[in-house]
């Protein structure tokens, strides 16, 4: 018994000796993001090592606001991500529902094509999307351009399809016998039962939209319609800007998502692993 608990202790110590330094390295950039955001310029670019926060967050925020109108860009980002998430959940749920609950002509073809797009690089579609939206329809810097083209995703369909397929069919048949219409069964019976899945999917979709960089960079160059990552990215590499301000922006983009992550970890994990489950 004694030797057994001794090996256990040795193993535990070895495990921690490996993982604790690694964890510190992994958290370090996030800690530095926060520290930089509170420092005056001469603190960020000083000869010493500064690892503790200072008190310049608010002045840095004001510099950022002056450089980009950051409050407005956060507003754009929140609206885009919220509307996008709502629409995408609706579209993918309806598609997932159709693919599980009805047998129809072309069902396996639709499913196969949707699955096939998972491995298709986004670059194959982004050029024509840009030509269509920006040039042919002249829709640069519009809510439609920011929200609609990224709406297609296959993950949501697969995820919702999985969720609906696990619900008892008898329930829906019972509702049909009562004379409830198909779309009402979907909205009033199936969707409420899928709430945990919808939560997980929503979080992942919101995060994707919130952090999306390339598409808004292409389609939104008017300061009025810039999303927060685009505005922040436009400062990086430009001389004579406030680095403290840039770091405030980085914190404002990251902190809300970290808070959500801490409280809704379970849904996050479910959303990420959903892609791996067939």
């Amino acid at each position: 018994m004694r030797s057994k608990s001794a090996t256990r202790l040795t193993r535990s110590l070895a495990l921690h000796a490996a993982i604790v330094p690694l964890a510190i390295i992994w958290l370090f950039p996030l800690w530095m993001m926060f520290v930089f955001s509170t420092m005056p310029e001469n603190g960020i670019f000083s000869p010493g090592i500064e690892l503790t926060p200072s008190n310049q967050f608010w002045p840095n925020f004001q510099a950022l606001q002056e450089d980009t109108g950051f409050v407005r860009t956060i507003f754009v980002s929140v609206v885009v991500a919220t509307v996008y998430t709502f629409l995408s959940v609706m579209l993918t749920s309806m598609a997932g529902w159709a693919l599980v609950r009805y047998r129809f002509h072309g069902r396996s073809v639709v499913l196969a094509i949707i699955l096939g797009t998972i491995t298709l690089p986004y670059f194959v579609v982004v050029i024509p999307q840009f030509i269509m939206v920006a040039r042919d329809f002249g829709l640069s810097n519009t809510w439609f351009a920011l929200i609609a083209p990224p709406l297609f995703n296959s993950l949501g369909v697969l995820f919702m399809r999985q969720s609906f397929s696990m619900m008892p069919t008898e329930l829906f048949d019972a509702a049909r016998v009562e004379g409830v219409k198909e779309w009402q069964i979907f909205l009033r019976v199936a969707m409420p039962m899928a709430k945990p899945t919808i939560a997980a999917l929503s979080i992942i979709l919101f995060l994707h939209s919130w952090n999306n960089y390339l598409w808004p960079l292409l389609i939104a160059n008017d300061p009025e319609m810039m999303t927060a990552p685009v505005a922040l990215g436009s400062l990086i590499g430009v001389t004579r800007v406030s680095w403290g301000g840039i770091m405030v922006g980085a914190v404002l983009l990251t902190a809300p998502m970290l808070v959500v992550f801490i409280f809704l970890q379970r849904y996050f994990m479910a959303g990420i692993t959903a892609g791996a489950v067939k």
């Binding site: 535990s12 495990l15 958290l27 993001m33 599980v100 579609v125 999307q129 970890q265």
Partner: protein, 286 residues
């Protein structure tokens, strides 16, 4: 399940409209574009200006070489690290498991722009904390943005930092679906933990690890924001220019849509080849 084509299509239509409008049509259109000379109007069929140019353009060859180099180093390192992390984080012996998981999973929510900004400051040559630490422990300071090798290493480190937790989450979920009694039996038979890892865990995880490899390959093939933002538009002198960044320049800076489309299809082709290769290597040998 009921046979109701009309109802089913009612539910599918909005999604299919988005699918056809923003994916199917663009896929076809960019294939068409990849044969067109688009530098001046009217666009003309001229594959030698697109596909032909790919074979002789040194800038494209450089981007291709860089992308494959990053791919060959970054993906195996990251997947190995993610697998190791998943096993360690799954251990019953681990204390403060919540905090540990948070440390590695937090980068999952950090956007490209935010972490690019932090990495630029941390790796600043004169004032960055990384060089100060290197200096402090007696190592030479590194010219992260001027030395091509160092800049490449920086991109690889950044991408690994950002994505390792994402892959670890997926692998961890695979680990947790392995029944506990497999390990109990092995322990009774005095199989060491290391042997258990190589003979039980890894073979059972193979499909999920392959899934992560394929996703990472596709992601890495499309690397754009990191060289764009961290190493300042693929610097120094194109040393970190990736296919994604090259495509961005051709497509959206000089608006050469035809050439950029050919690059896009090259990326897609490479991604398909590498994914198939992975699947083939990982096929069941029974």
């Amino acid at each position: 399940m009921r046979t109701r084509t009309a109802t089913a299509y009612g539910f599918l239509t909005p999604y299919l409209l988005v699918f056809v409008g923003f994916w199917v049509w663009p896929i076809i259109y960019s294939f068409y574009l990849s044969f067109m000379a688009t530098r001046r109007l009217p666009w003309t069929f001229n594959p030698s200006m697109t596909w032909g140019r790919l074979t002789v353009d040194p800038a494209f060859h450089n981007a291709l070489k860089n992308t494959l180099l990053i791919l060959v180093i970054q993906v195996p390192v990251m997947i190995a690290l993610a697998t190791l992390l998943a096993v360690l984080l799954n251990s019953q012996l681990l204390k403060a498991r919540g905090i540990m998981r948070f440390a590695f999973f937090a980068p999952v929510v950090v956007g490209e722009v935010a972490y690019a900004a932090v990495f630029r400051l941390m790796f600043n040559v004169d004032f960055g904390v990384v060089n100060k630490i290197l200096d402090g422990i007696g190592l030479p300071m590194v010219q992260w943005f001027a030395n091509p090798t160092a800049a490449m290493a920086l991109i690889i480190m950044a991408v690994t930092w950002r994505w390792v937790g994402y892959n670890a989450i997926i692998i961890l979920s695979g680990l947790q679906s392995i029944p506990e009694d497999v390990y109990e039996a092995a322990t009774l038979d005095k199989v060491s933990p290391v042997q258990q890892f190589f003979h039980i865990t890894l073979p059972l995880l193979r499909p999920i690890i392959l899934f992560c490899v394929v996703l990472s390959v596709i992601g890495t093939m499309q690397l754009f924001a990191e060289p764009f933002l961290i190493t300042n538009r693929g610097g120094p002198g194109g040393a970190t220019e990736t296919l994604g960044l090259f495509l961005y320049r051709q497509g959206f800076t000089v608006l050469n849509f035809g050439y950029a489309s050919a690059v896009a299809y090259t990326i897609a082709g490479l991604a398909v080849i590498i994914s198939l290769l992975n699947l083939w290597l990982g096929r069941d040998k029974t």
